[in-house]
């Protein structure tokens, strides 16, 4: 989990994505989202259903469905704005630089192609090496994820659930990407298999110096493996900081409530909190803060003005993290946490 350098590998700047619904209605699924991923870092993108986390990930990979459109922002990968590329150029990045694993391996794997062939396919597609070398690479990958080479020629349905997930990871790593996007990779798995897969991910990350962006709703999983955390709500970033900052001193009321809603094994029987109300409808957004209707700490300003993502300041001590290296800053989009002047 160590950050290797302070150089940014992937920088999302003010990304916005819209969906066109039936009847022409527009839904802002992702609104002005910004965060960075550094080499070797694991970033957890957390939120509940409808918050825009999966759409964000798909926007980065530019795999949106036809009704989706990225309307603004930049996606800087190693300095290159991916949004300025055409589809052909973008294809060179997919899988070779950025790869993805999905929630359900059974849906993502082709049932009529052997696992070995599926792992080999992207290698050959990207023209990286000849057939023999590709075969050796497949063996290497299977080794890395802990699948016996003898099972190379089996079909996905002959694998167990955990093994399929491993196969999917092997497939994703085939072209030596530098970033791995994981969409709810362990959600459908038993807790023990989940632990195995997470352990594998961390192992693989250490071995290959990968960055990982983990999209999930499971706060526990994110706490286990992430260096930094982005909490999303209603399409916007609510809070962004290191894992330690977000979990142990959450600033945004949503983050605070969300953490309270998570049962703690060590303190059973405590009253569990819930958040009243429902997430906002993305085609009918309020003018002010999106969390305001459900927030118990709201002030008058919150319903008028949507807060920007800014560094967290504390009434007594000023900015909590100023002076730290840029990637260790703690940001939140809440009037109560940020600049004092706005509040007057």
């Amino acid at each position: 989990m160590a950050l290797e350098s302070t150089q940014t590998l992937l920088s999302i700047r003010h990304l916005s994505t819209e969906f066109t619904g039936s009847g022409g209605s527009l839904a802002r699924a992702v609104d002005d989202v910004s965060f960075d991923i550094h080499p070797g870092e694991t970033l957890g993108l957390v939120g509940e259903s409808g918050c825009g986390k999966t759409t964000t990930m798909l926007s980065i990979m530019r795999l949106l469905p036809s009704s989706g459109r990225i309307t603004s922002g930049q996606i800087l990968y190693d300095g290159v704005d991916l949004l300025s590329l055409n589809e052909r150029e973008m294809r060179r990045y997919r899988w070779k630089e950025m790869a993805m694993i999905f929630q359900s391996a059974m849906n993502a794997l082709n049932p009529v192609v052997t696992v070995g062939d599926q792992i080999r396919e992207p290698i050959l597609q990207h023209d990286l090496m000849d057939h023999e070398a590709a075969d050796r690479r497949v063996d290497e990958l299977l080794d890395l994820v802990g699948i016996s080479k003898a099972r190379k020629d089996q079909y996905p349905h002959q694998y167990s659930g955990g093994m399929r997930q491993r196969a999917m990871i092997a497939m994703a790593l085939a072209c030596r990407p530098r970033i791995l996007f994981a969409d709810e990779p362990t959600t459908a798995l038993d807790v023990m298999i989940q632990a195995q897969v997470l352990e594998l991910l961390q192992h693989v990350q250490r071995e290959l110096g990968l960055s990982v962006m983990l999209v999930t709703h499971d706060l526990g999983v994110v706490a286990e493996v992430s260096d930094s955390v982005v909490v999303m709500y209603g399409g916007k970033v609510a809070e962004y900081g290191t894992s330690d900052q977000v979990y142990n001193s959450p600033q945004h009321p949503y983050t605070q409530r969300l953490l309270e809603a998570f049962p703690d094994l060590n303190a059973p029987g405590e009253v569990l909190a819930s958040i009243p109300g429902y997430p906002p409808r993305l085609n009918d957004l309020p003018p002010g803060c999106r969390f305001e209707p459900r927030c118990d700490q709201r002030i008058e300003l919150c319903s008028r003005l949507s807060p920007e993502l800014e560094e967290v300041t504390n009434l007594d001590h000023g900015s909590l993290t100023s002076g730290s290296k840029p990637f260790l800053r703690h940001l939140a989009a809440c009037h109560l946490c940020t600049s004092l002047e706005k509040r007057q």
């Binding site: 038993d190 807790v191 195995q196 979990y247 142990n248 303190a267 029987g269 569990l272």
Partner: protein, 370 residues
């Protein structure tokens, strides 16, 4: 009529040596050669009891048999052998199957001790007094039925509340107590118009309208957003407190267990491997499987560093279960005794370091306790 049992210590539900095996479909050759069919031993000799007003959690990974137990207790599956005793009454379907010479008799009639002591309850009565809440709020409601119809179905099917006004009143009260207010607003809506949390409340209302003694809840919150899980759990808790209904709570999520259950039973491959009061089991797990499970549950606290016992491999197939301890192949603490015999639930003989587990029964099926 089910009468309340007179002895105050009698549990509301007692499951005794329950076994449920599913035959594996045979190939044609197997059929022709009359080979004995392989059996999936989903539930392999399970016994437990639930007191009135108690919440017992049944925890385990997929394939451990917890859902099968739930379905059997509710009457959706017929047990292969074993007994289910509900409020002091033997559930009819089991006895009939195993002992066709039994006929429903008055207690005290000539015959076996069971006939003498335990009156029968038919499956139909069982359905009224034991209700189930399913996991998927999107699938457990008929998309073409109105909320009123869904909640009233239990009444209609069992011939209760025959007058329409009576039915309306009961449905309204059930929806109200489940938190859907004003109830009339929901009567004529369809399930797809409600959110996941609301749908689950409808399911709960549909169960509570029958005023059951037992609720079997199969992963009732695992498909809901975290921020509304607490609402549903609190609602169930309220039902328990106000109406004294017992709850058999099936889940794989240890966190919910910690919050909600009085006692917890951990299952592995069709057997209960540990059972006891929640606090004790969580803080002082006796069985290596429980210890491993608890060590890998993700905790939302990055500062917490604990030793994780990650078991290798996957849960084996419930078709081939060894005659000795079924956890032995993956157990990090197995020793010679473990391959020689099959441990049954026992209490720790030696006093495990520090923690006092006196009083209530905390048992585990492991030779390490001897």
């Amino acid at each position: 009529m089910i009468e309340e049992s007179t002895t105050p210590t009698e549990p509301m539900l007692q499951v005794d040596q329950l076994v449920k095996h599913f035959p594996v479909p045979q190939s044609l050759w197997g059929l022709l050669t009359r080979r004995k069919a392989a059996m999936v031993r989903a539930v392999d000799n399970v016994s437990f009891s639930i007191e009135k007003g108690e919440v017992l959690a049944l925890v385990g990974e997929s394939g451990c048999g917890k859902t099968t137990i739930a379905r059997t207790v509710i009457g959706l599956e017929k047990p292969t052998s074993g007994q289910i005793i509900f409020n002091g009454h033997l559930v009819d379907v089991v006895a009939r199957q195993q002992h066709p010479e039994f006929a429903p008799l008055e207690p005290g009639s000539p015959g076996t001790p069971e006939q003498k002591v335990l009156p029968f309850v038919s499956l139909r009565r069982l359905h009224q007094k034991a209700q189930m809440i399913f996991q998927d709020p999107y699938e457990s409601l008929d998309p073409r039925a109105t909320i009123f119809d869904i909640v009233a179905e239990g009444l209609e099917v069992n011939g209760l509340a025959r007058k329409r006004s009576e039915r309306v009143e009961k449905v309204q009260r059930a929806l109200d107590e489940a938190g859907l207010r004003p109830a009339e607003d929901y009567f004529w809506r369809y399930p797809h118009e409600l959110s996941g949390g609301q749908r689950q409340r409808v399911v709960i209302a549909g169960a509570m309208v029958m005023e059951p003694d037992l609720i079997v809840a199969d992963e009732p919150v695992s498909m809901l957003d975290v921020s509304i899980r607490a609402d549903i759990l609190n609602l169930l808790r309220q039902m328990r407190n106000q109406r004294g209904v017992s709850i058999l709570f099936i889940t794989h999520d240890m966190g919910t267990v910690a919050y909600f259950a009085d006692r917890v039973a951990v299952m592995y491959l069709g057997r209960i491997v540990e059972i006891g009061p929640t606090r004790q089991v969580l803080q002082n797990p006796l069985h290596p499987y429980t210890q491993a499970l608890l060590s890998v549950v993700p905790v939302p606290n990055p500062r917490l560093r604990r030793k994780r016992v990650i078991l290798q491999g996957e849960t084996p197939n419930p078709i081939h279960i060894p005659l000795y301890c079924r956890f032995q192949p993956r157990c990090p603490r197995a020793f010679e005794r473990c391959t020689l015999a099959d441990p049954s639930l026992m209490q720790p003989v030696r006093n495990v370091s520090g923690a006092v587990s006196g009083g209530e029964q905390h048992q585990a099926a492991c030779f390490l306790l001897e």
